[in-house]
């Protein structure tokens, strides 16, 4: 077999560089919470690399779930600073809703760096976040004074819990969570 000539090698290298590899979905950094409070839409997410203009999809956590889109406005905006929502590594951004609507004072699932479709199903919205062909589902419930938002591989409470976020409300509500919703991720 003839050895590859330099020009063919260059062509191959260029072709490899131009191949678009879909980014791997990162449950730890690509999921967060969007909420509208005091007239401002805010995003709380452990990803410091999001930039103004970047698109974020959201799923409302109240029933019936619905999907929407928002755009990052400002990173670490003072209007979105909220000491009770402070969690290690979580960055706050201000948002502008571009499609759908956030329900006032109710946290919604925020999904960054994800461009595939969010699909309505009988049990709520679903999305194949990690691209493994098995859709993830979204569930929210209240504990004594907060909302537990969870993402599950398959059906909520039956599948594997992939993500969990506690959103502190600051007032007492009636709890409707199961233990599987509220258990900490790791000790």
């Amino acid at each position: 077999m003839k050895a590859l000539g330099p020009s063919l090698l260059v062509l191959l290298l260029v072709a490899c560089q131009n191949t678009t590899v879909p980014p791997t979905f990162n449950y730890k950094s690509d999921l967060g919470v969007a909420v509208e409070k005091a007239g401002h839409a805010c995003l709380y997410i452990p990803d410091s690399s999001l930039s103004p203009g970047q698109r974020v999809q959201f799923i409302t956590a109240t029933t019936p779930q619905s999907a929407g889109e928002a755009e990052i406005l400002i990173k670490a905006d003072e209007t979105c600073k909220d000491s009770v929502q402070d969690q290690p590594g979580v960055i706050h951004y201000s948002l502008k809703t571009t499609q759908g609507a956030l329900r006032r004072a109710a946290p919604a699932f925020a999904i960054a760096n994800f461009s595939r479709a969010l699909t309505p199903t009988e049990g709520g919205m679903a999305a194949d976040l990690d691209g493994d062909g098995k859709p993830e589902s979204f569930r929210a419930c209240t504990s004594s004074e907060g909302v537990h938002l969870t993402v599950w591989k398959g059906k909520p409470l039956e599948g594997l819990r992939k993500w969990h976020y506690y959103y502190y409300l600051g007032f007492d509500v009636t709890s409707d969570c199961a233990e599987a919703d509220t258990k900490p991720d790791t000790e």
């Binding site: 109710a106 004594s144 600051g170 007032f171 007492d172 009636t174």
Partner: protein, 187 residues
């Protein structure tokens, strides 16, 4: 005393407290001792809520209900809260839309999207919400029995199960479903 019509004027009344002094004994003194032990051990403690007045819970609960369609005339009165939930027209007839609009404005002012509970350990003065954290490799703390406890493993925050045992030694009990919440009986 004349009653004041429902509306946003009520929202700043009966504010929540972040002071341990507003709790009731024996929980107040137990919480103070636990916080003192944490501070002495080098942990940081940030209190977000102690007493939530029952009057505020009443106003939040019933404004939310009326906003959702509950008949304002059926709302029970509460001693110490001279609120008139029923708005009337010039002829003295019940004006349901005006009553609902006033309740809507209260809900907006309180920023509530979930039904507030009427009573809780917070309204009794038997609960505290606080973020606890430490950065040292170990936390050496004196428990309620005067025993020295060194916490070497687990999360370095209020979710640490060893810390829950220390809290229990002061009869400050962790509610597992709500990370910042501790009370006199774990509810």
């Amino acid at each position: 005393m004349a009653e004041t019509l429902s509306g946003p004027v009520w929202v700043p009344k009966f504010p929540n407290s972040t002071s341990v002094d507003d709790l009731v004994d024996p929980f107040k003194s137990n919480a103070k001792k636990f916080i003192a032990a944490l501070t002495k051990a080098g942990a940081t403690v940030s209190i977000s809520s102690t007493l939530r007045p029952k009057e505020r819970a009443y106003l939040m609960h019933w404004s939310f209900e009326i906003s959702g369609g509950y008949d304002p005339e059926k709302v029970p009165a509460m001693t110490g809260v001279d609120i008139e939930w029923v708005h009337r027209d010039a002829k003295g007839n019940k004006n349901l839309p005006a009553s609902k609009t006033a309740a809507d404005m209260m809900v907006t002012g309180y920023e509530i999207a979930y039904e507030p509970a009427l009573a809780s350990r917070h309204t009794e003065g038997n609960a505290i919400d606080m973020d606890i954290g430490w950065t040292t490799p170990e936390l050496t703390i004196t428990d309620g029995a005067g025993k020295t406890v060194t916490i070497k493993t687990g999360l370095k925050n209020g979710s640490n199960t060893e810390l829950h045992k220390v809290g229990a030694s002061f009869t400050v009990i962790k509610l597992l479903s709500d990370p910042p919440h501790w009370s006199n009986d774990g509810h």
